[in-house]
């Protein structure tokens, strides 16, 4: 699987997108072409997604990101790790994050 990611992976936010917190929506807007399927796609993240996005700093691996999230979101750590993996795969697939 081309976009499969593991808990040891470290990602950083792509510089080819702009992230904006507009009222009750967190939006990611592509700047350069080739992000997403078409050039006019925009993406919104839910609160969990935004929390993960904020922690994609190019330093922490996904296991550490999940550990940091455990203090913000209730649930077993395994579930949080799986969600971080699922979310990261989706971002990676769309080139919104870059593997360090």
């Amino acid at each position: 699987m081309k976009n499969k990611v593991g808990l040891g992976y470290i990602f950083k936010r792509s510089e080819d997108v702009a992230a904006r917190d507009v009222y009750d929506e967190f939006i990611i807007i592509p700047i350069t072409s080739g992000i997403g399927k078409t050039d006019d796609e925009l993406f919104s993240l839910n609160s969990f997604g935004k929390a993960v996005w904020d922690k994609m700093d190019g330093k922490r691996n996904l296991k550490e990101v999940a550990a940091a999230l455990a203090s913000e979101f209730e649930g077993p750590i395994k579930k949080i790790e799986n969600d971080v993996l699922g979310f990261s795969e989706e971002l990676f697939k769309r080139k919104l994050i870059i593997k360090v």
Partner: protein
């Protein structure tokens, strides 16, 4: 713990994307300059490209960036760069890149004559996220340049279009119907179908031309002569009769009613229009000094919070307006508004005769009024609209509806 869906693809447009709560500022229109490298006979704003006095007064790059930053903080998602010809500005590319990097979608209104291969490459690499809108003035060099009044502009426009096509940069085309190009309408529509992003749709046209929005009136007599007559306008609008009627049935069911004494019954005020010199206006065409807000002495937020709401609440006291427009159920069809009144008469609430005639010509075609009937005198207007919407009306041999 609620997690998914993690990422939701959004179709964000200018009007309806924030379902729960719209941003404070929906969009921003910026006239980057009033200067233009064309000199179109019908244009209501253009100043010569080399007008140094106008250029000197224009907002600086930093001033525009600061306004954009302020707009971003107010939730703005879309900026439209227009003019004049916005590509005339030396800093256009810088402003475009800045806007996109801040996460704004950019709409560009242009005549395409100044699009270079470097610029097409830029739009390909950093897509505006909205289709570029290109105005064209004729299918032949002779017709185009008798409108643009600049030698070589026809070739320049087509060169720009070719560059965008080569780089697969989405754009749409629009026309201005003038005596010089009216007989090319079929050819124009056929050509426009080859533009992939038109999706087979015909271009939109301007033909009921506005007068000069700065009321620098020397050109106004010429513009008036270029306007189509109301009857001719209806003939053009109804060329595809079934399509027109279906659209109008939907339209009439939603927008036809008297507006009363409120001056601003349109959507102006949710977005903002900033002219080349830093004044904020409720709409692009309305440059009345009483409705302008000087951003150099204030802020977008202040204008939207304190200034525009006062404008929105303005009521007319003009007896002529109150006796006609305020009672007229053709409000949806009629382009009467403070901006049009300003351009024609220098006031906010004088009925514009030409627009009144255009609206009545359309209403006669639709069977909503008859003969010399004036729409503000019609008592049973609700019933008439209801009948029209329910398709009770039928097209007469004369082309109208009975």
């Amino acid at each position: 713990m609620k997690t998914g869906p993690y990422v939701v693809k959004q179709d964000i447009d200018r009007t309806g994307f924030w379902k729960k709560k719209p941003p404070f500022l929906g969009w921003l229109d910026m006239e980057l300059t009033e200067r233009c490298n064309n000199n179109c006979i019908h244009c209501g704003i253009n100043l010569p490209a080399g007008d140094l006095d106008a250029k000197r007064k224009e907002l600086s790059t930093d001033e525009i960036k600061n306004i954009l930053k302020e707009a971003l903080a107010l939730g703005c998602m879309v900026v439209r760069f227009t003019g004049g010809e916005p590509l005339l500005r030396d800093d256009f590319e810088e402003l475009f890149i800045f806007s996109r990097k801040q996460g704004l979608k950019v709409i560009i209104f242009t005549n395409a004559t100044l699009i270079t291969s470097r610029m097409a490459e830029l739009f390909s690499r950093i897509p505006p996220l909205e289709k570029i809108e290109i105005s064209l003035y004729g299918m032949e060099k002779s017709s185009y340049e008798s409108v643009s009044r600049v030698n070589g502009s026809f070739e320049a426009a087509h060169r720009g279009i070719k560059l965008l096509l080569e780089k697969n940069v989405p754009f749409v085309v629009k026309g201005a119907l003038l005596p010089q190009n009216k007989n090319e309408i079929d050819e124009f529509e056929k050509w426009a179908k080859m533009v992939p992003w038109m999706k087979g749709n015909p271009p939109s046209y301007s033909m009921f031309f506005d007068l000069r929005c700065r009321r620098d009136g020397k050109k106004n007599e010429l513009i008036k002569k270029l306007r189509v007559s109301p009857e001719e306008g209806v003939n053009i609008l109804t060329r595809k009769k079934d399509q027109y009627l279906n659209g109008m049935r939907e339209f009439c069911s939603r927008f036809m009613r008297p507006s009363g004494d409120k001056l601003f019954s349109c959507g102006s005020g949710h977005g903002s229009c900033i002219d080349a010199y830093g004044y904020l206006h409720p709409c692009m065409l309305l440059k009345h000094p009483d409705t302008a807000y000087n951003l150099k002495r204030g802020s977008l937020e202040d204008a939207l919070t304190n200034f525009f709401p006062k404008l929105k609440g303005m009521k007319t006291t003009n007896p002529d307006y109150l006796n006609r427009c305020a009672k007229c159920f053709l409000k949806g069809l009629c382009e009467q508004c403070p901006a049009k009144s300003w351009m024609e008469y220098g006031t906010l609430d004088t009925p514009v005769e030409y627009l009144c005639e255009v609206a009545h010509a359309q209403a006669r075609f639709l069977g909503l009024v008859s003969g010399c009937e004036m729409a503000w005198e019609v008592a049973d207007w609700k019933e008439r609209i209801e009948n029209f919407v329910k398709k009770k009306a039928v097209i007469s041999k004369q082309g109208g509806i009975t």
